[in-house]
C-alpha cells in the first residue's frame, strides 16, 4: 500500500499544472472560478487547446490519439484542470461514445467519428431517456423501421443534455417491437441536421435550458450509422453506462467548489461579525472537508483497485452527488441573505461586481440534478441492493 503519489505521477501532475497555467485562457478561468456560466464556446476552445497539446483524451489508447493513461492519472489531469478553472470536457463524445466506438464500432466508424471528438470539432449529445422511460430504459419506444439501407426513425427523447448545441446524437432506438423489453434495441448515430429533427429546450429550475426534448419525425438514418449488431443496443448501453460511471464521483468539481466555498466563507459576515468566528460554521466546514477527503480517497482506492466491482460505482455516484450538493448548500448558507437574488437588475453594481459570489444559488438549484440524472440515487441503491442482497 502506498497512498502517496509515485514520483512519476507527481511529475505528470506538475507537467499538467504547468501546462494548464500557461494555456488555459485567463479570462475564461477567472469567470468560471467565480461561478460564471460555462458557455459552449468555452468547452470547444478548451478541447481544441487540449488536442493541440496531445491531451485531448489522455486515457484513450495511443492508437486513437490518447496516452493510455491510468485512471489515477486521468484523475490528476481532471483535478488540475478543474482547480485551475477549466471547463469540463464534454463527456458525451470523449468519455461515452468514444469507448463504445472503439469496442463496437467498425474501423470506418472509428475513422469517421473519433478524430473530431478529440479535436472538439463535433459536439455529441445522447438520446437515451424518453417520456415514461426515464430510469426505465428497457421500456423505450422510439421506433427505427428499416427502409432499404436506411432506418426511418419516429419518436421522442427527453432529458437530452446540451443537445441544442450538438452536431450529432447517439441514440437508443427500438428496432424490434416483437421481443421482450431489453432486446430489440439498437444504437444509431444521427446527424442533428437531418430533416425531421426538432429540439425543444426544457427550462430547469435554475432558469437555464440545459436539457431538451428531441422529436424525430420520419428521420432517415443510413444503416451504416448503426453501431454494433442490430438489436444489440442494450449490451452497448450497459457498457456505456459503466464507462459513464468511472468518474461519477465528480471529486475534481467538488474540490473546486469547496475552494470557492472557503473563499466565500472567509469574506463573509454574519450579524456583523466574520463568519469564520462562528464555531458551528467552522465545524460544518470541517465536517464537509472530511467528507470530501474521504470521498477522494475512496474514489482513488477504487480507481486503483486491480478488479473493479459492480457496486462501488453506484456508491461513488450516490456519495459524490451528496457531497457536491452539500458543498453548494453550505456555500449558499455562507452567503446568507446575499444568496437570495437570482436575477439582479442592470443597476445593481454591488451585486454584479461581487464576482466571487456569482451564481451560488443558481448552482445549488442546478445541482439538484446530480442525484437524479444518469440513474437516480434510488436506482443506484437498487443496483447495490440487487448485488448485495439479491431479492
Amino acid at each position: 500500500m502506498n497512498i502517496e503519489l509515485a514520483p512519476e505521477d507527481l511529475a505528470f501532475r506538475d507537467h499538467i499544472r504547468a501546462f494548464v497555467a500557461e494555456q488555459l485562457p485567463a479570462a475564461m478561468a477567472q469567470r468560471l472560478l467565480n461561478g460564471g456560466k460555462i458557455e459552449p464556446s468555452d468547452i470547444r476552445t478548451w478541447q481544441g487547446i487540449l488536442y493541440k497539446a496531445g491531451l485531448g483524451a489522455i486515457y484513450w489508447p495511443a492508437a486513437f490519439g490518447g496516452q493510455d493513461a491510468a485512471p489515477v492519472r486521468q484523475y490528476l489531469f481532471e483535478l488540475e484542470c478543474a482547480l485551475a478553472g477549466a471547463p469540463p470536457q464534454l463527456s458525451f463524445g470523449v468519455r461515452m461514445l468514444a469507448p463504445v466506438l472503439m469496442r463496437f464500432g467498425t474501423t470506418e466508424q472509428q475513422r469517421t467519428f473519433l478524430p473530431s471528438i478529440l479535436t472538439g470539432e463535433t459536439w455529441w449529445c445522447q438520446g437515451y431517456s424518453e417520456p415514461g422511460a426515464g430510469s426505465d430504459l428497457a421500456s423505450l419506444r422510439t421506433a427505427a423501421v428499416l427502409d432499404g439501407d436506411h432506418y426511418v426513425i419516429n419518436g421522442q427523447k427527453c432529458w437530452n443534455t446540451l443537445g441544442q448545441y450538438a452536431d450529432w446524437i447517439f441514440c437508443l432506438v427500438r428496432t424490434d417491437f416483437t421481443v421482450k423489453a431489453q432486446r430489440g434495441i439498437s444504437l444509431v448515430l444521427i446527424d442533428m441536421k437531418t430533416p425531421g429533427i426538432t429540439v425543444r429546450p426544457t427550462v430547469l429550475l435554475d432558469g437555464t435550458p440545459e436539457v431538451n426534448d428531441i422529436y424525430f419525425d420520419n428521420v432517415r438514418v443510413p444503416v451504416s450509422q448503426r453501431v454494433g449488431a442490430e438489436n444489440e443496443g442494450w449490451t452497448i448501453a450497459k457498457f456505456l453506462l459503466v464507462h459513464e460511471r468511472t468518474n461519477i464521483a465528480g471529486v475534481p468539481w467538488s474540490k473546486r467548489d469547496f475552494a470557492r466555498l472557503l473563499g466565500i466563507a472567509q469574506a463573509a459576515t454574519r450579524d456583523g461579525r466574520p463568519l469564520m468566528e462562528d464555531a458551528s460554521f467552522r465545524a460544518k466546514l470541517a465536517r464537509l472537508e472530511i467528507d470530501l477527503e474521504v470521498l477522494e480517497h475512496t474514489n482513488l482506492r477504487m480507481l486503483s483497485a486491480a478488479k473493479p466491482d459492480m457496486t462501488t460505482p453506484s456508491i461513488l455516484k450516490i456519495r459524490g452527488s451528496e457531497v457536491r450538493q452539500a458543498i453548494s448548500a453550505l456555500t449558499m448558507e455562507a452567503l446568507g441573505r446575499q444568496a437570495l437574488p437570482l436575477v439582479v437588475g442592470p443597476g445593481d453594481a454591488a451585486l454584479t461586481e461581487d464576482a466571487l459570489t456569482r451564481g451560488v444559488t443558481a448552482s445549488y438549484l442546478n445541482l439538484r440534478k446530480l442525484s437524479i440524472f444518469g440513474g437516480s440515487n434510488e436506482i443506484q441503491r437498487n443496483i447495490v441492493a440487487q448485488s448485495m442482497i439479491g431479492l
Binding site: G134, L205, G272, G336, L340, R368, S376, N377, E378
Partner: protein, 370 residues
C-alpha cells in the same frame, strides 16, 4: 386546552383557499411570475376586498382586529398558492403598525392600508442592521442600506428599523414613503421569483410623525418575530402543498410497470416528510398563540419555530424534488417553484444555525444551569 380554530378563523381560511385556487391557479401564477411587475394587482385587489390587508388592523382603525392566528392562517394559504403579491409583508407591516404605532400615524394610514390602496412592507428581517438614524432637531436622518427587501418594488411605504446613536441593533421603527427623497431602490428578483430591491438611504428625513417607536429594541424584535411567524406559516402551506403534489405524482407516474408510489423506499421517505410537516404545523400555531405572551417564552418559541421551519423547508424541499425525479427539476412543474420558495424561506429571516444559537444562548448559556 385546544388547538381548534374559531368559526370565523375557519371561514377566513376557507374563503382564502377558495379564492386562491380559483384566481391564482398555477397557470395564472406562472403568467404573473413572468410579467413585468412580477405580481398581480388584480389579485391583490380581490384579496383586499376579501379583507386580507384589513385583517391585521385594529377594528377601531377600520380593520378587522385579527391577531397572530389569523396572520398564520392567511400566510399558510398564500404559501400553498405560492402567491407573488405582498401579502405576508403587508400583514407584518400592518400588524406592527396596529400594535406599535401612535394614534396619529394609525389614523392617517389605516384606511388606505385596510382597503389595499396603500401597501406597506417591512425592510428588515433581523435586529442587526446597518441603517443608522441620526437625530437632527425634531427629526431623524436615515442612512445606510437594506438588502433584498421583499416586495419593495410594489410598496408605497416602508417600515424601517434603524439604530439610534449608541445602539448596535435596531431600536427604532419608522414608516416612510417609498418615494422619499434620498431613497434609491435597486431591484432584483429573489430565488423564489418574488421581486425585491436593495434600498440605499442617504439622509432620508423621518419626522416624529413617521416614528412608530424609538429606543425600544424589544419592540423591534417583536416585529421581527411577527415576520418569522408569517414566513414559517407560508412555509407550512408550501410544504403541505408540496407533499400533496408529490403523493399525486407517485400515484400517477408509471415506471417499471406500475406507479412508482408502490416502491416502499419512496413511501417511507414521504412519511418522513409528513412527520416533519406535522411538527411545523404544531410549532406555527404554538408560536402564534404565544406571540403576544411573555416575551422570553415568545422569543425561545420563535427561535425554535425558525429552526424547525428551516429544517423542514430544506428536508421536504429536497425530498419532494428528488421524489419527482427528472420532472422535479423542470421549471414547468409546480413542485420546482415550491422548492425555490422553500430555499428562500430557509435563508430569509436568518438561518437554522443562527436561530439555534439564539435559542441556545437563551436556554443554555455557557456553564450555567438552564
Amino acid at each position: 386546552m385546544n388547538f381548534d380554530f374559531t368559526e370565523e378563523q375557519t371561514l377566513l381560511a376557507d374563503a382564502l383557499h377558495r379564492c386562491l385556487s380559483e384566481q391564482a391557479d398555477f397557470a395564472t401564477r406562472k403568467r404573473t411570475l413572468h410579467s413585468d411587475t412580477g405580481w398581480s394587482r388584480a389579485l391583490w385587489t380581490v384579496l383586499a376586498e376579501l379583507g386580507v390587508p384589513a385583517t391585521m388592523l385594529a377594528d377601531t382603525d377600520g380593520g378587522l382586529g385579527g391577531g397572530a392566528i389569523e396572520l398564520a392562517l392567511i400566510a399558510r394559504a398564500t404559501g400553498a398558492a405560492l402567491c407573488l403579491e405582498p401579502i405576508g409583508s403587508s400583514l407584518v407591516a400592518n400588524l406592527t403598525l396596529a400594535r406599535l404605532a401612535p394614534a396619529g400615524l394609525r389614523t392617517r394610514l389605516a384606511p388606505s392600508l385596510a382597503a389595499g390602496t396603500r401597501i406597506a412592507v417591512p425592510t428588515f428581517e433581523s435586529p442587526y442592521t446597518v441603517l443608522q438614524a441620526t437625530r437632527h432637531d425634531a427629526a431623524y436622518r436615515l442612512s445606510g442600506t437594506a438588502r433584498v427587501v421583499y416586495h419593495a418594488p410594489c410598496a408605497d411605504q416602508f417600515l424601517l428599523a434603524a439604530c439610534t446613536a449608541g445602539s448596535t441593533i435596531a431600536d427604532t421603527l419608522f414608516l416612510i414613503p417609498a418615494n422619499a427623497a434620498g431613497l434609491l431602490a435597486v431591484p432584483c428578483t429573489s430565488v423564489d421569483g418574488q421581486r425585491a430591491a436593495d434600498l440605499h438611504l442617504t439622509d432620508v428625513q423621518a419626522t416624529t410623525a413617521d416614528t412608530l417607536i424609538s429606543h425600544d429594541a424589544a419592540a423591534v424584535q417583536w416585529s421581527v418575530d411577527v415576520g418569522i411567524l408569517a414566513l414559517a406559516a407560508e412555509t407550512l402551506g408550501s410544504v403541505e402543498r408540496s407533499i400533496a403534489l408529490t403523493i399525486d405524482y407517485l400515484k400517477t407516474r408509471n415506471q417499471f410497470g406500475g406507479p412508482i408510489g408502490r416502491f416502499q423506499a419512496l413511501q417511507h421517505r414521504v412519511v418522513g416528510c409528513l412527520a416533519k410537516v406535522e411538527e411545523l404545523h404544531t410549532m406555527v400555531f404554538v408560536a402564534a398563540a404565544r406571540l403576544d405572551g411573555e416575551p422570553m417564552l415568545r422569543r425561545t418559541t420563535i427561535a425554535a419555530l425558525k429552526v424547525i421551519a428551516c429544517e423542514t423547508a430544506q428536508h421536504v424541499g429536497e425530498e419532494v424534488v428528488q421524489l419527482h425525479g427528472g420532472m422535479g427539476v423542470t421549471e414547468e412543474m409546480e413542485i420546482s417553484h415550491h422548492f425555490r420558495r422553500l430555499v428562500a424561506a430557509g435563508i430569509r429571516f436568518g438561518s437554522r444555525d443562527q436561530h439555534l444559537a439564539a435559542y441556545t444562548a437563551l436556554r443554555f448559556p455557557p456553564s450555567q444551569s438552564a
